[in-house]
C-alpha cells in the first residue's frame, strides 16, 4: 500500500526534497502539501531581482501547477496547519482540512524578526520575506516617496537597492558600525557602504531605532539620538527566526529551531523537519546550499536509501545587487594563530583578503572583483597547502603556474570536482559529463538536468563557459527555442514564413518548412492551425483534428471525461427567462453541478458528451450562444453596473462591456482573452488585472492591458486615455488584432507585451492612426468568418460523429 507523506510548507527545501524523492522512489508515497502561502514553489532568493524589476515572478517559479498535477501531488494553497495530532497521526489546516499521515515533514521555514518598537504594527511597515511583501513594496514604490530600510545585512541591502531602482528615496539604518558585519570585515564593510551610497542610497550606521511613528499609517522613524527620518514605507530586514511554534505545540523537541539529528529526524520517529526551521548539530541555516543538502538527506531517508548524513559546511555569501561584487566565505576573524594576505586597489575599489591557518585557507572576503571566489572556495574545501603559491595567491588563479588571464582558460583549468554551483552543490565534472553524455546544448538544458545555475543564478557565467568549452563552436547562446521537436524553427519564424511564403494549409507549412515528422504533434498542430486561421480568415479551412478537444466539441472536458457548458451572458447581465431556461436544462439532463464563474456567468458541469447537442438546442431556444469558456479566444467581458445604477458610476460601463463583447465574440486569439469594464476608479469589475480592461472616469475611458490574475498576478499597464466609447472600442479592437497577429500560440497578452514593449504597442495603437485603422479593419474582416455560434451549428447536425459512439458491441442483447 502507498504510504501517506504529508509536508507542511512548500518552500525551496521541501520542493527540492520531493524532486530527489520522486527520482529515487516515485510511487512509494501519496504526497500532500499544505502551503500557508497561496501559491506554488518559487525561488525565494530571486525575490530581489523581482523587486528591482530585473525579473518577473513567472521567471522564478520552480514548480508550476503542472508539476504537481504531473506527479499526482495534492497541494493545498493558502492552508496553514494549525494542529498536529501525533497520537492519531493527523494534521489539520485553518480551513478545516484534516489529513492523516504515515510520515510527516515539517518545513515551516522562518519568520522575519520584528523589532519590538512602538509603531511596528502601523500600515506601511513591511518585512521582506515572500512575494506578498515584494508586491506591497512595489505598490508603495509607486509613490516615489521616502523609504527606510531597517537592517544593513544581505536582505536589507537588496531591498534598499530594489526600492531605489523603483524610484524611491531610500535610507538604510544599521545598528552596527559597518554593514554586513557578520559576513564582511570592517574594511570590506566600509567599501560596501561607499558602493551603496554611490547608488544614491543613504546609509546610517550605529543607528538605533527608538520608534516608528505616524497617524494611522507610517510617517517616519525616530532614532535613539532623537533624529527623525520621514518615510511612508519602512522595511524591517533585521533577521529571521525559525518557525517552531507548531512543532513546539506538538511536543517535539525544539531549541532555536526544531531539533533534528543528522538524518533530519525529529524526536518523533514519524516526523522529520528540514529547511530554515530545522536545527541540526546546533546550527540553523538561512542560505540555500545547506538547505538543499538537508533536502538530499531527507529524501534518502524517506526512500530508505543508503545511510546519508548531513555534514556542516561553510557557504559563500554573495550580494545580489547588480554592480556590487562581493564574496565572503568561512571564518575571517583575527587570531594569534592566523595570518592574512590582503590586496587593496583604492582607485579600482578592490579589496581582497584571504585568512590562513597552517598554510591553509579558512576564510576569504572579496570585494570589487570576485571571479576567484570559486577557486579560493575549492582550495579551502580541499584544505590545500598553499605555501608554494603564497606570494601570488592573492592575485588569483590566473597567476598560478603561468596560466593565462583568459576567463575561459581559468575555467578549463578547474579540476573536475571543483564546485561550480554553490546553491545546488554541482561540480564541474557533473556539468561537463551531462553536456556530453546527454547531448545538452543550452543553459536551460543544463539547468534541467543538473540544477546548476538554477537557483540564485550567480554561476550562470561559469556554466556558459563550460558549455562553450565542451561544445566549442556548436554552442550558440542566442539560439531560438524551437516550436517543438518537429521543427528547428521558433514560433516567430514560423509566423513570418507563413505570411512570406503564402502558406495556407498545415501540410503546406510542414512541407515548405521541412517539418521532421509526418503530421506534427499535439504541440505544433494547434499552433499552426491558429496561425493559419488568423492570417487567412477567408481562405483557410479550420482543421478540427488539430484543435484541442475543448475547441473541437465547444465545451470543457472534465477529469471524468464529462463536459461543462457555459453560455454567454453579455456583460454578465441576465434575466428571468434565461435563468428559467438554465434551470429547465439542469433538471432535464440531471446536471449534477451548477456554478457561478468568476467571469459573471453560469457553468453547468458533468454533462455527458452525447447530451451536449440536446443541451445546446434547449439553451439556444432561450437565445443563448456559446460562451467560448473553452477557447483560446474572447472569454468574458466583466462589468459593473456603471452610471445606470451606481451612485459613483461615471460612464455606462455595462453598456460598453456588452458592446465590446458583442463586437468581439467568436474571435480566436493566441491564448484566452479576458476583459472587464469598470464604471469608476473604484474598479468593481477588477479591470486592472485583465488582459484588456477599461476604467471609466469623468473625462473618458482609461484603456488598460497586459494584466494577469492566474498563475501569475500582475496589474495592468495603462495604454492611454480616450474620450468616447467609439474610440475606446477602436483602440481595444486594434490592440487585440495586433496581439492576434504577433503573439506566439499560448502566449497571454502580458507576456507578449513584455516581449514587444509597452512603448512600441502605444506607438502603433495610439499614435499611429493609420496603423490602428488597418488593424481594426482586419479584425472586422476576420469576424465575418468567425462570428458563427458553434452550438447552433452542431444542433443543426455539424460534426455529428463527435457526439455518438461508433458502435455498441458485446452486450447481451447485441450478442443474441
Amino acid at each position: 500500500m502507498t504510504e501517506k507523506l504529508v509536508i507542511i510548507g512548500n518552500g525551496m527545501a521541501p520542493g527540492r526534497m520531493l524532486e530527489h524523492l520522486l527520482e529515487a522512489a516515485p510511487d512509494r508515497y501519496a504526497v500532500t502539501i499544505f502551503n500557508a502561502e497561496p501559491r506554488v514553489n518559487y525561488d525565494r532568493i530571486m525575490l530581489s531581482p523581482v523587486l528591482s524589476g530585473e525579473k518577473a515572478f513567472e521567471e522564478i517559479v520552480i514548480h508550476g501547477d503542472g508539476w504537481y498535477i504531473k506527479h499526482g501531488i495534492t497541494l493545498y494553497k493558502g492552508h496553514r496547519i494549525v494542529a498536529v495530532d501525533r497520537e492519531a497521526k493527523t494534521v489539520t489546516s485553518d480551513h478545516g482540512v484534516t489529513e492523516s499521515y504515515d510520515r510527516l515533514v515539517i518545513a515551516t521555514g522562518s519568520v522575519p524578526f520584528i523589532i519590538p518598537v512602538p509603531g511596528k504594527d502601523l500600515p506601511g511597515v513591511l518585512t521582506y520575506r515572500d512575494l506578498d511583501d515584494v508586491e506591497a513594496m512595489l505598490l508603495a514604490a509607486q509613490s516615489r516617496a521616502k523609504a527606510v530600510v531597517i537592517g544593513g545585512g544581505l536582505l536589507g541591502l537588496e531591498a534598499a537597492a530594489g526600492l531605489k531602482e523603483r524610484g524611491m528615496d531610500v535610507t538604510v539604518l544599521h545598528v552596527m558600525p559597518t554593514l554586513m558585519e557578520r559576513q564582511l570585515d570592517p574594511a570590506a564593510g566600509y567599501l560596501l557602504q561607499k558602493a551603496v551610497e554611490a547608488r544614491g542610497i543613504k546609509v546610517m550606521t550605529k543607528a538605533n531605532t527608538k520608534a516608528i511613528f505616524g497617524n494611522g499609517k507610517v510617517e517616519g522613524v525616530e532614532l535613539m539620538d532623537g533624529t527623525i527620518i520621514p518615510a511612508t514605507l519602512v522595511v524591517m530586514a533585521v533577521g529571521i527566526r525559525p518557525s517552531i511554534a507548531l512543532a513546539k505545540e506538538a511536543g517535539l523537541e525544539v531549541n532555536r529551531g526544531i531539533v533534528v539529528n543528522d538524518r533530519m529526524e525529529t524526536s518523533d520517529a514519524a516526523i522529520m523537519a528540514l529547511g530554515e526551521c530545522a536545527e541540526v548539530g546546533g546550527h540553523v541555516y538561512g542560505l540555500v546550499a545547506p538547505l538543499y543538502e538537508m533536502a538530499r538527506v531527507a529524501a534518502v531517508r524517506l526512500a530508505d536509501g543508503e545511510d546519508k548524513r548531513f555534514v556542516h559546511s561553510d557557504t559563500p555569501t554573495k550580494l545580489k545587487v547588480t554592480g556590487i561584487d562581493l564574496y565572503s566565505l568561512g571564518d575571517f576573524a583575527d587570531g594569534d594563530d592566523r595570518e592574512e594576505i590582503i590586496l587593496r586597489d583604492a582607485s579600482a575599489g578592490i579589496y581582497k583578503r584571504v585568512v590562513l591557518q597552517d598554510n591553509r585557507i579558512i576564510g576569504t572576503v572579496l570585494f570589487g572583483e570576485t571571479a576567484d571566489g570559486a577557486w579560493f572556495n575549492d582550495l579551502k574545501k580541499k584544505a590545500t597547502d598553499i605555501s608554494e603559491m603564497r606570494d601570488t595567491l592573492i592575485f588569483g588563479q590566473a597567476f598560478q603556474g603561468g596560466a593565462s588571464s583568459d576567463p575561459l582558460a581559468a575555467v578549463a583549468a578547474l579540476a573536475d570536482d571543483a564546485e561550480i554551483c554553490g546553491c545546488n552543490g554541482v561540480c564541474k565534472g557533473k556539468i561537463t559529463g551531462a553536456i556530453t553524455g546527454k547531448g545538452l546544448t543550452g543553459l536551460d538544458d543544463v539547468r534541467a538536468h543538473t540544477k546548476a545555475s538554477a537557483s540564485c543564478g550567480s554561476c550562470t557565467g561559469l556554466v556558459e563557459q563550460l558549455l562553450k568549452l565542451t561544445l566549442g563552436e556548436a554552442y550558440n547562446p542566442a539560439a531560438v527555442q524551437p516550436m517543438c521537436s518537429c521543427t528547428n524553427l521558433g514560433h516567430d519564424d514560423v509566423r513570418r514564413l507563413i505570411k512570406a511564403k503564402g502558406l495556407k494549409t498545415i501540410p503546406a507549412v510542414m512541407q515548405e518548412l521541412e517539418w521532421k515528422t509526418s503530421c506534427g504533434c499535439a504541440k505544433c498542430r494547434p499552433a499552426l492551425n491558429y496561425y493559419l486561421v488568423c492570417d487567412w480568415p477567408d481562405q483557410y479551412a479550420d482543421d478540427y483534428q488539430s484543435r484541442f478537444i475543448n475547441e473541437r466539441v465547444h465545451a470543457n472536458i472534465q477529469k471524468d471525461g464529462t463536459y461543462s457548458v457555459v453560455p454567454r451572458m453579455w456583460g454578465g447581465v441576465t434575466n428571468s427567462n434565461e435563468l428559467r431556461a438554465i434551470a429547465d436544462v439542469v433538471d432535464k439532463f440531471e446536471i449534477p453541478m451548477v456554478k457561478v464563474t468568476g467571469g459573471q456567468r453560469i457553468d453547468m458541469l458533468g454533462i455527458r458528451k452525447q447530451d451536449l447537442p440536446a443541451v445546446w438546442a434547449d439553451l439556444g431556444k432561450a437565445g443563448f450562444v456559446s460562451g467560448h469558456a473553452y477557447a483560446k479566444g474572447l472569454r468574458t467581458v466583466k462589468t459593473c453596473v456603471g452610471s445606470d445604477w451606481c451612485r459613483f458610476g461615471t460612464q455606462d460601463s455595462t453598456g460598453l462591456g456588452i458592446r465590446i463583447e458583442k463586437f468581439m465574440w467568436g474571435s480566436w486569439t493566441p491564448a484566452k482573452v479576458k476583459m472587464a469594464v469598470s464604471g469608476c476608479p473604484r474598479n468593481c469589475a477588477e479591470a486592472t488585472c485583465k488582459d484588456v480592461g477599461v476604467v471609466c472616469v469623468d473625462s473618458g475611458y482609461e484603456i488598460h492591458f497586459a494584466g494577469a490574475a492566474g498563475l501569475d498576478i500582475k496589474g495592468t499597464e495603462v495604454l492611454g486615455m480616450v474620450k468616447t466609447e467609439d474610440e475606446a472600442l477602436e483602440v481595444i479592437v486594434a490592440l487585440v488584432q495586433m496581439y492576434r497577429e504577433q503573439a506566439r500560440y499560448l502566449e497571454r497578452i502580458y507576456k507578449w507585451a513584455k516581449r514587444v514593449g509597452t512603448a512600441e504597442i502605444k506607438r502603433q495603437i495610439l499614435d499611429d492612426a493609420e496603423r490602428r485603422g488597418s488593424l481594426f479593419d482586419r479584425f472586422v474582416f476576420s469576424q465575418k468568418f468567425a462570428q458563427v455560434d458553434p452550438w447552433s451549428e452542431r444542433v443543426s447536425g455539424k460534426d455529428k460523429h463527435e457526439f455518438r459512439p461508433m458502435a455498441s458491441v458485446g452486450f447481451a442483447e447485441a450478442a443474441e
Binding site: G72, C519, A522, Q545, H801, P805, M806, A807
Partner: protein, 109 residues
C-alpha cells in the same frame, strides 16, 4: 478469432477517433493520416483520460487531460512517462472495420 463489425472507416475522420461501447468499457478506434486503423482502451494509463478525445499525430495520440503521448500500435506511453493501455485487434476489409471479440471475452474472464 471472432471478428465483430463495428462500421466503416469513413465513420472516423482521418487523424481522429470514435468510440465503441463494450461491457468492459469504451474502446477507442483510431484512424491515422495514412488510413491505418488501431484500437485501444479509451482509458489513459495515467489518470484514465479518454484517449479518443486526444489529438492524433503519426501513430500516436496525446491524452487530453495531461498530455501523455500513447503509441497506438503498442499501447505504451512514449517519452519519459511509463505505463501502457490494452490494444485490441482490429482489421479493415475494404471499407468495413472489425474488432476481435475474443480479446474482450478473455479479458473479461
Amino acid at each position: 478469432m471472432n471478428w465483430i463489425a463495428i462500421g466503416s472507416i469513413a465513420d472516423i475522420p482521418p487523424r481522429g477517433a470514435r468510440c465503441v461501447e463494450t461491457p468492459q468499457g469504451k474502446i477507442a478506434v483510431f484512424r491515422t493520416a495514412d488510413d491505418q486503423v488501431f484500437a485501444i482502451d479509451d482509458h489513459c494509463p495515467h489518470k484514465g483520460g479518454p484517449l479518443s478525445q486526444g489529438i492524433v499525430h503519426g501513430a500516436a495520440v496525446t491524452c487530453p487531460l495531461h498530455n501523455w503521448v500513447i503509441s497506438l500500435d503498442t499501447g505504451k506511453a512514449l517519452g519519459a512517462d511509463e505505463g501502457s493501455v490494452r490494444t485490441i485487434p482490429v482489421k479493415l476489409e475494404g471499407e468495413r472495420l472489425y474488432i476481435a471479440l475474443e480479446a474482450l471475452a478473455s479479458k473479461a474472464a
